[in-house]
């Protein structure tokens, strides 16, 4: 029984000539207990995909079934309840409320569930204990380090016992030491049977994943099971293709690299094509880049 089932899900922005296809008929099934890493360059649509899976956004076309429920048919109040009960978000920029202390932040999803304060705080305390922040309950977010903040955010994501945890670049703002702690925590959660969706740029992080989905131009172009502890092959390969700076001048450098890889020529021509395609969508790309650039 899949936790998440996407069928031909598309997301379009704008209309007429200005239509931008953010997601192009994506079909994806995520089973319970999987640790899926979603990779792709910026502007590839992985954030849109994550928002749709996280019920923050609605697909333009296609069906999305979360825990046997057709999400698109739900009203906004029901969607909010679905987010509260079934989904735990972990953000790159932590997104804890700065004026609430750590335990109140962790208990926030429960506050919208009409749970009594005592039970709320008790449960939040258990979660904080679990992520190793039992002694930081009454600290304010600004008194914590980045790694501690992200662990608090993980506790918040876990507190309502969700069906799926969605982590959007959880280590993007962290140093390598804190990143390790956070990733190991996620890995532990996976081992305990949680379903985790990790959006990342970093191919190294695919070591922790049981499955890697590679998204580009709004479509899934690679999907493979990967052994835990190993960097996924596809991720390693694809990451080198990322047009990190401008398209044309990089291609020269990439071409040389590609030619040295067996079958590289074919990939290269694909990359060129995509590069040009991407260049025709500058607005969207800038927006996404800004997004990543914040903080």
């Amino acid at each position: 029984m899949p936790v998440i089932e996407l069928k031909d899900v598309s997301k379009l922005y704008g209309f007429g000539d200005a239509t931008t296809i953010a997601l192009d008929e994506i079909t994806l099934r995520i089973e319970k207990g999987e640790f899926v890493a979603i990779m792709g360059p910026s502007g590839s649509g992985k954030s849109t995909l994550m928002n749709i899976i996280g019920v923050l956004d609605r697909p333009t076309h296609g069906t999305y079934i979360l825990n046997d429920r057709h999400v698109a048919r739900l009203r906004s109040g029901q969607q909010a309840r679905l987010r509260r009960d079934k989904i735990g978000f972990i953000f790159q920029s932590f997104n804890l409320l700065p004026r609430l202390n750590v335990i109140e932040n962790v208990a926030l999803p429960l506050a919208y569930k009409n749970m009594t304060q005592v039970r709320r705080l008790k449960r939040a305390a258990t979660m904080l204990e679990r992520v190793g922040l039992g002694d930081r309950e009454y600290f304010l977010p600004r008194q914590l380090s980045g790694g501690q903040l992200q662990r608090a955010a993980i506790a918040r994501a876990l507190v309502s016992d969700p069906s799926i945890i969605i982590a959007d670049e959880p280590t993007g703002n962290l140093d390598s030491g804190s990143s390790r702690v956070v990733m190991e925590l996620l890995s532990d959660l996976h081992k305990e049977g949680n379903t985790i969706l990790l959006v990342t740029h970093n191919p190294e992080l695919t070591r922790f994943a049981s499955r890697v989905v590679y998204v580009q131009d709004g479509a899934v172009i690679g999907d493979e099971q990967s052994a835990i502890g190993e960097v996924s092959k596809i991720a390693r390969k694809m990451i080198t293709l990322l047009p990190k700076t401008t398209e044309e001048d990089d291609l020269a450098g990439v071409s040389a690299l590609m030619k040295s890889i067996p079958g590289g020529d074919k990939l290269l021509s694909q990359a060129r094509k995509r590069g040009r395609k991407r260049a025709t969508k500058p607005t969207k790309r800038r927006r996404k880049t800004n997004l990543r650039g914040k903080r």
Partner: protein, 408 residues
Amino acid sequence: MFKGYIKMAITSIRRSKWRSLLTMFGVIVGIVSVVTTVSLGEGIKHQVTGEIKSYGSDVITIRPGRLVNRDQHGKVKSVNIINSFTANTITNADLKTIAGTHGVKQSVPLAIVSGKATSESVSDDNAIIMATTPDALQLINQKIEFGSFFTDTDRAAHAVIIGPKIAQDLFQENVPIGRTLKVRGQEFVVWGVFQASSSSPITAATDFNKSIVMPYNVAKSLSDSPPQISQVLVRAENTSQINQTIQNITIELKRAHGDQEDFTILKPDETLAATSSVVTLLTSFVSGIAGISLFVGGIGIMNIMLVSVSERTREIGIRKAVGATNHQILSQFLTEAMVLSITGGVLGIIIAVICSYLLRIFTSLTPIVTLPVILVATGVSLLVGIIFGVIPAFQASRKDPIDALRYE
């Protein structure tokens, strides 16, 4: 959950104390002015009631001019304030008519003598100089503290009874009996001093603290024109037949005035009604103006809530991402606006109560803050919060979670 919203609202208000205080200021000013004016009005009504009672519940008042309009059942419909000051339609001859009417036991004119009173050293412009007949003492229900009132045998005596305030102003002593004062060039001897009585600043009744009372016959000799009769007090022979007596007087006076009803006969309780409807009118007028500041205060709340909503866009995004429904976000911000305005309202009520006490101490006004006034003020401030908080709260609730999360 509602408790949670209130807690959230208090946290967020305390976070920016100054801003919240300034926001509340508009509501505070509005509530203070409304509550103070209304309680001033209440106080005046209360004083008037007290006065009328001391006038005697069986005393009919006849005033010149059409003071009130009545409906077909004889109930007072509206009051003409201006007429009571200008009309001069009751004459000397009318006094005899009234005295001779069937059912009238006593009748006493209260006439205004224009002019000012002077003692050897001081002159007093504020004194109300009145002329009346010896029976007046039984109808005006004033007590003589020192000395005595003039009697039937003193109709032509140049004697005056003065109020305690006049005694102080003109002679700087409490008992100036035997001293003289001048009105229109004629000398009068002070025969007595009234007991101090409480009085309100706006009333149809006369303030005897500031009065100088002389015999009516003497007043007639002061000038060529007879003194202007401002009211005639009448006591009926039989208290149970007041209405009959009033009708008799009306018929007699109308006949004397050529079938023209250019006078007003007020029953004891109607004197109160006439005064209190004037006060009510004034009070509602002033509190209407004060209500405008409440409106402005509400706009201040709306403004700050709009700023607050856009400042906290990211917070809204986070709350929505962890599962807050639109309705819950709306409730949160609406509660915040309500807490702001009701705190302002309560502060306003407290300040208004303090103001009322200060007014009691330092002026002759006696404002009364009643429980209904407090309840209404609280309700109104809550209403202001709801009316002006709904738009910002609605805006907050409609924010798109994805955009809100990106907001910096």
